[in-house]
């Protein structure tokens, strides 16, 4: 059984040439924390994630394994953070894009998608097996919606 019923085929996405400013505007509009990024052919390039954006605002010493785990002693103001944000918002999203740990196919069984969500995946791209074209997104919200429909059927 395929997973058509459990993922959404209408989803917001970014082109790899879009800027960080485009991405954040879209995130605020669509109230999402991850956005898939596709190339000119529609193939998945990766996910633009909020945590990548936050990482760009943090000092390098805080991003290392075993690095600074507490920055309470750094008194950077919101204004200084905004300055950093201004520096990166014209950068293309591909610089902040990473391929997610899990990608599923349209034929992936729904239970596998539920398992991935249970294991902590947030938004799972659904790509075609040939060419990796992005055809959908499976999120917790999509799964809940799909389960709700089934329950009421």
């Amino acid at each position: 059984m395929g997973s058509e019923a459990i993922y959404s085929t209408t989803f917001a996405s970014l082109k790899d040439t879009d800027t960080v400013a485009d991405a954040t505007a879209r995130m605020l509009t669509d109230r999402v924390s991850d956005l898939p990024v596709v190339d000119a052919s529609g193939a998945l390039v990766g996910l633009f994630r909020l945590d990548r954006l936050y990482a760009a605002l943090l000092p390098r010493g805080a991003l290392l394994d075993g690095g600074l785990t507490d920055l309470a002693f750094v008194s950077d103001t919101l204004g200084q953070l905004r300055e950093k944000m201004r520096e990166i918002e014209h950068c293309p999203v591909r610089e902040f894009t990473a391929m997610p740990e899990h990608v599923v196919h349209p034929e992936t069984p729904p239970l596998q998608i539920v398992l991935l969500l249970h294991q902590g995946a947030n938004n799972i791209p659904v790509v075609s097996p040939d060419g990796g074209k992005l055809v959908g997104m499976a999120s917790a919200r999509d799964v809940l919606a799909a389960l709700g429909k089934r329950a009421s059927a």
Binding site: P59, R60, G61, A62, L63, L64, G67, A72, F73, S75
Partner: protein, 446 residues
């Protein structure tokens, strides 16, 4: 089954010396290639020595220096618990502010802090604690981080040489010879202070005097509130109390007649107890599990395998042959032998891991005792080995674990550390430190 009878029954009828030497050299070569984790290689080599009959399991267990392992483990546990308090960040930030966040001042102070911590902690742990703070400060000052990280590598290896507990070679030498914390402090700490100063002078001329930061960027660093970096004041007090007691224990080691491993492990146990007093059993389990799992088990297992390997070649007679060859090469002259050990240790340690090197050299030096005036006369040789093996690690990027760890952290932060670029400044600086050590040994002991 006992070793002596077992050693004769070598697989394929080959002599013990040939088999042990082949396994020993093969193991060291594989360790040097870095293709397989060094703990795996050392344990495999040790296991093979038993399997082919060079020694029995009871021989192997007897060969393991549990004093070295216990001291290492105890200090690892104390550091892992203490780091949660934010103490190390506090000291680093406080010291940078003391020099008004001037770029050269920060480089100097971070080097001094790194050297000081390294004198009491494992070098790798020290750089793991200090490098993130250095990266933060250089980012705020908008200066190139490379010179700072380079200086910290040097400071870490130099500082580690200063005490019994600063660097594994010293722990091994101390354990094998009975030399105490005070012996190391009396004989090595003064010259290490001189070497530290002598190293910072060229670093100032190479990089320090060119470092510039704007007033605004310096104000950013000056605005750091170091007291906010203390994340657990209760743990901080407990840690400082235990560390102080452990250091006092090391200093009184001879008077109280207790080995350093016992002092360190006991200190770690007391700190774990204090840290967990009044906490529920689940939290206690979580805390203790975290402290234990953060110990460098790879290093500990590597040591365990090495002790067995070295005992294997010692039992087979290779160490005696090597000692005789060294004495022949130096003409049995005490001064020449001492300085030869210093320079050879330094040059070799710049390219190979100094831990297996020192593990091999310890029995070798001991076996030369009858020709060099007995055990009591060997003191300068131990200092030569310590200075050469520890400081030699500064010569190349692969010379010491701390170098590789800093290079790895830098790489992940987008800062390139290249072997040749590092070598061009590091090797002459390392030679300078050995030259100073040479003069010191000659003037004080020879």
């Amino acid at each position: 089954m006992h070793g002596e009878t077992h050693a004769a029954a070598i697989l394929f009828g080959l002599p013990a010396l040939g088999v042990a030497t082949t396994l020993f050299v093969g193991t060291y070569i594989v360790i040097m290639t870095d293709k397989v984790n060094r703990a795996i290689v050392a344990l495999l080599g040790a296991g093979l020595l038993i399997l082919v009959g060079v020694m029995t399991q009871s021989d192997a267990l007897a060969a393991v220096d549990f004093n070295t392992l216990g001291l290492l483990l105890g200090m690892m546990l104390i550091v892992n618990i203490t780091r949660r308090s934010g103490l190390f960040q506090y000291v680093a930030i406080w010291s940078a502010k003391k020099v008004k966040a001037s770029p050269w001042g920060v480089m100097l102070m971070m080097s001094i802090v790194t050297a000081f911590f390294s004198a009491f902690l494992d070098n790798v742990t020290t750089v793991l604690l200090t490098v993130p703070v250095t990266l933060l400060m250089t980012e705020e000052l908008k200066v190139k981080p490379y010179p700072y990280l380079f200086a910290q590598i040097f400071a870490s290896n130099i500082g580690g040489t200063a005490t019994l507990i600063g660097d594994p070679p010293n722990i091994m030498i101390g354990s094998a010879t009975g030399l105490t914390f005070n012996d190391f402090a009396f004989h090595l700490t003064p010259i290490i202070a001189v070497i530290m100063v002598a190293t910072m002078v060229p670093l100032y001329y190479v990089w320090g005097r060119h470092l510039v930061a704007t007033e605004e960027n310096r104000r950013h660093v000056m605005s750091f509130n170091e007291s906010q970096s203390i994340t657990d004041a209760r743990l901080l007090k407990q840690s400082l109390a235990v560390i102080a007691l452990v250091i006092v224990g090391f200093m009184l080691q001879r008077q109280i007649g207790i080995e350093p491993a016992t002092i360190a492990i006991f200190g770690a146990a007391v700190l774990m107890l204090l840290d967990n007093l009044g906490r529920d059993s689940e939290t206690q389990s979580k805390n203790v599990h975290a402290a234990l799992s953060e110990a460098e088990w790879i290093t500990l297992m590597f040591f365990l395998g090495l002790f067995v390997l070295v005992h294997g070649i010692q039992k087979a007679g290779l160490i005696d042959l090597m000692a005789q060859a060294l004495l022949k090469a130096t003409g049995g002259d005490f001064n020449v032998t001492t300085l030869a050990i210093l320079w050879a240790s330094a040059i070799l340690s710049a390219f190979i891991d100094n831990i297996p090197f020192v593990a091999t050299m310890i029995p070798l030096i001991k076996s030369m005792a009858p020709n060099l005036g007995g055990d009591a006369a060997l003191l300068p040789l131990w200092w030569a080995l310590s200075l050469g093996a520890c400081l030699g690690g500064n010569g190349t990027l692969i010379g010491a674990s701390a170098n590789l760890v800093v290079a790895g952290l830098a790489d992940r932060a987008g800062i390139a550390f290249r072997f040749v670029e590092f070598l061009k400044v590091a090797f002459p600086l390392m030679l300078l430190s050995i030259l100073i050590s040479h003069a010191y040994l000659y003037a004080r002991y020879l």
